[in-house]
Each structure stands twice: as structure tokens, then as C-alpha cells.
Amino acid sequence: MSTHPLIETEARHYLQSRGISIPEYRLATSPQEAVDHAKALDFPVVLKIVSREIVHKSDVGGVRVNLRTAEEVAEAYGSILSSVSERAPGAKIDGVLVARHVENALEVIIGATVDKQFGPVIMFGLGGIFVEVFKDVTFGTPPLSRPEAESMVRDIQGYPLIKGVRGQSGKNEPALTNLLVQVSDLMMKDRDLAEVDLNPVLVTSEDAYIADARIIITNRP
């Protein structure tokens, strides 16, 4: 069966419509609009390119983070568009997404896929080099109970980073566990989902925020 990816705004909407909370975001189609959104959301913010033809946004200079003033936002908007037009010429651009920049966050990944033998499978790991180099991930098979989700979080090697090391405050583990259970429930309920990739999820001592979402849907014949 064939599949198709949702663009980020669609993916966000998809999750939201199924009861998974997504930090507030807005779509801008001009520098001024981006600045207005940033003011409404409050600084600092992040800007991200939105285009069906661009999957890896960072690779084409399509992401800017920690923008603290109106000037920085306007400048970033321009530089994102020019960088994208240079590195992904001809890509149809839907706009630029504006969202709050989350500070003091730990990047984690929550992934879900459908295994040929076991059906839905959930993956959890720390973001960045932890997943790429150390393969520090845990797997679980839905439906995940809360204790199962808890042990998925606690069984990664890098768990002390979540728990808090060397005087750093711990991250909000229950919020993270909750998100894992929600994704597990989603995979059990919505059998059209081929893949969910929440990468990164930003975990602070307050909450867990989905900062980017990639979703792939199976096309029904």
C-alpha cells in the first residue's frame, strides 16, 4: 500500500484534532506577519519553513531558533527564504511557521511505526547524537500501560539526563510518559498511521512540548 507524508502544519493539526497538545504556532507569509505572530506569541521564537517538498528543513537552512527581537525575526524570515530558494530551488513554499522557543529543554524523540510482524511499535530516545551515534533507544509495543511507558523512559542509558544530574533540575517525566501513552493509543486507534515521528520533543521541568512532527499516512485503496 502506498503512503503519503503530511506537512508540518497538517501533522500538527492532525495531532491536535486527536487530543494531543501542541504548543501554539502560527503560519506567516511575510516578514511583517512573522513579527506580528512573534509579538502575539511572545519572544523568543523559532521560525521554520513549511513546504511539502522539503523534508529536512535544517539541511536547507530552513530553521532559525531563539529569536529574541522583532528585528531578528524579520531578518530570519528573509534569510530562511533566500537560503531555501538557493538550496531547494523551485520548491513550493506554504509559508514560515512561528512558535515559541522553549528554553532549558532536553531534546527527546518519540517515534512510532508499524512492524510487519508485531504491528504498531513505539520508540523512545534522547535526540541528537544519542540516537544517531549511541542508538540509545527503547522500544515498546502498544497498547502501552503507564508502567510500560515509564520503563521505556527509564531504561535508556541517558536517563540521568532526564532525571537530572549534577545539580540540574529533573525534567517533567510524567508529561513525557503521558505523551508516550497518547502516541501508543493513537497508533492503536488510527490504523491509517504508517509512521509518527515527534522529533524533537522538548522536555523541560514544566512540560513536554512537541517541537516538530512528521506523520506518514497509509493511502487506502
Binding site: D115, Q117, F118, G119, V121, V137, T138, F139, G140, T141
Partner: protein, 471 residues
């Protein structure tokens, strides 16, 4: 279609097609295993060229058997199997077929794989379940039924039932079990070979419902119906331990499994997650599997995770501690002040008591009564859920006598005691004495420790269910 192995294990009439008088043929050994052991059911050899095989009347064809036949064993060359399956289907009374013959999908030759597909098609049409091809079938120690060609497998009775996709490993498991200081018995044994129909899920379901199966051992290269496996295992695991040896942990293992039976092993971490979900114990190898099965068969589960290591020698003690230390879920036992005082009174003065807590080295000065009194002492402690007892009996201490005393000291204990007497030939008889008293022995201290870890894992799974711990 019946999702069961019932017709393989409790047949009403067995026909052996390809039965032979020639001792170098599989068809000879199969008839022999059915007639020379305890099996009392009807057996009908089929071979157009013989009147009589091993004292049994021989039939020219499957269709010429006038009595009821529910199980057919096929040992002919592969090319004849499809025709025989058709004959079995036409009879109308056949419910199960074991295809021992090789030369099907495992050869990777398309024509051979097509024959396998064809025979399965015929079987499905007639509601016949198939084991194999390229397999040896089943053994049941309770009835003496043995459809295999294995001449050497001992049939000691026990509560463990085995499923193996591989015949060699399946047989090795039985040989290892038989080779223990006191032979470890089994209940049922199923080998599925190419696994065209009956698979690990059927076996799991059957063993799960089988009252005489206490624990389940599985060797598998792939589990194709993963979700159903999870559901079945979730239902069975609270009552029976499921020990799984699953290859395909690395790319190379996956490739070998594929080349062996054409199984796509899948992502290992997903298996790992599934096994953990259902409380199945993943085995690192055959030793791990036999060790754990033996402990489950002979000892109660610990009620908690607090383990005491009682050793007569520092080296083996340290090895056991190293293993325990790698599993944060295990804690060393807390010995009360009164317990420590009592220990001090009954062990040699140079002993190291609770250094660290829960670790007791009674040293090579320890004589028989030091061993036994120390064991009784720690078993009586509330903070101890299980004991690993290690000793290298010194020259002037009789291992047999030590074993008898230890067996006595541990006899009424509701806590598991896993022992390791390390001295090769010198302790062979002593290990036999211990195991006859249902105190399992292990070749090395680290293996005893790994086995205790598996028991604790099992206990933790059961207590996570919130139900009562089986003891």
C-alpha cells in the same frame, strides 16, 4: 481449522508412509521409536514393498488401511509427498500430518517451494494440520509417543514443554537436559522445521492450555504473527514461564536464519519489547535456557529481589557479584544485626560477614557444619528472598556428605537456593545428590547468578500483574 496440536499429541491411529526395514532409513527409525517405547496406540506402517515391519503388519498404501487413521507421518522422498497428502485428504479421517521429508522450500529451489505450497493447499482443503516439512514432529513423555528419527533422546518426564523451529537445537535442548547431574525431564516436544503451517503460536497456545505443561521453552527464528503471539503470551505467561531463545540479534544472525528456513527475523528490538511486555524471558543461549528451566522446575520463585550470596571462596563469589551488579533490579539482601551475630557464631572466625551487606564469605576454612549452619541462618532472615550458595569443597571435606547436609538444610525452605559446587569431577556425585533433592546446581558461579536474575525477573513480572506470586 482447529488451532491446536491435539491431533498430533493424541492421535487415533498413526500411519507411517515410507516405513522401512532398512535401519539406515528414517522410515525405519520412526517405526522403531513408535514401537520400542511406551506408546500403546495403533501404528500402521505403509510400504508397498514389505509385508511386515518391526513385527507390525505393513500396508501397500495409505488408502488400504481399513482402521481409523488420524495422524500420518511421511518419510518418503519429497517428490511423493504431494500425492500422499492427497491420499490422506481423500481418506477423510486424517486430521494431522507430519512431513519428515526434506527437499522443499528450505532448498530455495522454486519447484521445491511450489511442492510445499501445493501440499499445504491440499491439507487446508481437507482441514488437515501440517507439521514441517523438514521436521521430526513431536515427542510426548506421558504417552511415549515419539514421531522422530532421534535414536538417542532420553524420555525423562517433567513439566517443561519444548517448541523448536530447528531440529538440531530442539534435540540439543533435550540432550542437555538429559545430561544434567540429575536428568531434567520434559513433557512435550514439538519441532516445526519449515513451519509451513503449525508454528510457534500454535505450540504456545497448545502448551498454554495443556495442564501437564508447567513451563515453556521456545527456540524460534521468527515469529510471524507477532500480535497474536503477544496476546497468547499475555494470557499464558501469568501461569507458565515462557523462555525464549530467539536468534537474529545481529545482522549476521538474521541472514543465517533466513538462509536456514527462509524466516525474516525482523527488528530484534521489537522482539525484545514484545517479550518484555508479555514477561517472556529472553535467553542468551542454551546454557541460560537449561539453567533457568532447571531452576524453575526445582525451586520456588523468590518473593522479592533481595539476594544473599553465601560463598566459601572469594573468586566465585566475586563473579556472582559481578553478574548481580549488572542488574539494578536485584538488590543484595539485608541481614539483620541479630542475623549477623548468629552468623558470626556459626562460621569460621576469619569469615567476612556482610562485606558488603548481603555477601558472606565463609572462606576455605569452612567445614560441613559451617556451610549448613550459615545457609540455615540466611534462609531464616526476613531480608533474604533467595540464596546463591557457592563452594569449592576442599580436599578434606567430602563433597557428597556436604551435599547431603546442604539438601537437608534447604529442604523446607520456601526461598530458592541455587548452588554451585566448583570442582569438576570431584563434585559430580555431590551435584547429583543435590539435584535429586531438587536443589539445582550450576557449572559456574556466574551462571548460578544469571539464573537467579531470571527468577527475579519472572517474579517481578508476576508481581507487576498485581496477582499472587506462584511458589
Amino acid at each position: 481449522m482447529e488451532e491446536t496440536l491435539e491431533h498430533f499429541y493424541n492421535p487415533d491411529g498413526i500411519a507411517v508412509v515410507g516405513a522401512s526395514q532398512n535401519p539406515s532409513k528414517a522410515g525405519y527409525q520412526v517405526v522403531r521409536n513408535l514401537t520400542q517405547r511406551d506408546y500403546h496406540g495403533a501404528v500402521y506402517p505403509v510400504n508397498p514393498g514389505a509385508d511386515n515391519i518391526d513385527g507390525l503388519k505393513c500396508y501397500p498404501s495409505l488408502s488400504s488401511i481399513e482402521n481409523h487413521v488420524s495422524l500420518v507421518l511421511i518419510t518418503t522422498p519429497a517428490a511423493q509427498v504431494v500425492g500422499i497428502m492427497q491420499e490422506a485428504a481423500d481418506r477423510g479421517d486424517v486430521k494431522a500430518v507430519v512431513v519428515l521429508s526434506a527437499g522443499f522450500s528450505e532448498t530455495k529451489v522454486p519447484e521445491n517451494a511450489a511442492m510445499e505450497k501445493k501440499l499445504l493447499e491440499i491439507a487446508r482443503g481437507a482441514k488437515i494440520r501440517v507439521l514441517g516439512p523438514n521436521c521430526t514432529g513431536v515427542i510426548d513423555t506421558a504417552t511415549g509417543l515419539d514421531t522422530t528419527i532421534e535414536p538417542t533422546v532420553a524420555q525423562n518426564r517433567g513439566g517443561i514443554s519444548v517448541f523448536s523451529q530447528s531440529g538440531a537445537l530442539g534435540a540439543s535442548i533435550l540432550c542437555f537436559m538429559d545430561d544434567q547431574p540429575t536428568p531434567l525431564g520434559f513433557n512435550k516436544w514439538t519441532h516445526s522445521g519449515n513451519t509451513c503451517d503449525i508454528d510457534v503460536l500454535d505450540a504456545l497456545n497448545y502448551y498454554g492450555n495443556d495442564p501437564s505443561t508447567k513451563n515453556i521453552l521456545i527456540y524460534s527464528e521468527a515469529i510471524n504473527k507477532g500480535r497474536e503471539f503477544i496476546e497468547a503470551a499475555q494470557r499464558i505467561s501469568p501461569q507458565k514461564a515462557i523462555l525464549v531463545l530467539k536468534v537474529g540479534r545481529t545482522e549476521l544472525g538474521i541472514k543465517a536464519a533466513y538462509s536456514h528456513t527462509g524466516s525474516l527475523a525482523g527488528v530484534d528490538q521489537v522482539y525484545e519489547a514484545a517479550f518484555r511486555k508479555v514477561g517472556a524471558l529472553r535467553m542468551a543461549g542454551l546454557e541460560d535456557m537449561i539453567d533457568t528451566a532447571k531452576a524453575l522446575e526445582m525451586q520456588p520463585l523468590p518473593k522479592g529481589n533481595r539476594i544473599c550470596i553465601l560463598t566459601e571462596a572469594g573468586g566465585p563469589g566475586s563473579m556472582a557479584m559481578d553478574e548481580i551488579g549488572a542488574f539494578p533490579m536485584i538488590k543484595l539482601a539485608e541481614i539483620s544485626a541479630a542475623g549477623q551475630q548468629r552468623l558470626k557464631e556459626v562460621v569460621p572466625p576469619i569469615s567476612l560477614i556482610c562485606q558488603p551487606m548481603g555477601y558472606i564469605d565463609i572462606t576455605a576454612a569452612a567445614m560441613e557444619e559451617h556451610h549448613t549452619e550459615a545457609l540455615k541462618c540466611v534462609l531464616a532472615e526476613d531480608g533474604v528472598d533467595g540464596v546463591i550458595l557457592l563452594s569449592v569443597p576442599p580436599t578434606f571435606l567430602s563433597p557428597e556428605s556436604l551435599a547431603r547436609s546442604l539438601a537437608l538444610a534447604a529442604r523446607d525452605s520456601k526461598k530458592p537456593v541455587l548452588t554451585c559446587l566448583l570442582a569438576g569431577k570431584w563434585v559430580r556425585e555431590a551435584r547429583k545428590i543435590l539435584e535429586e533433592a531438587r536443589l539445582p546446581t550450576f557449572d559456574t558461579a556466574d551462571r548460578a547468578a544469571r539464573t537467579m536474575i531470571n527468577l527475579v525477573k519472572r517474579q517481578q513480572y508476576l508481581s507487576s500483574l498485581g496477582g499472587e506470586v506462584r511458589i
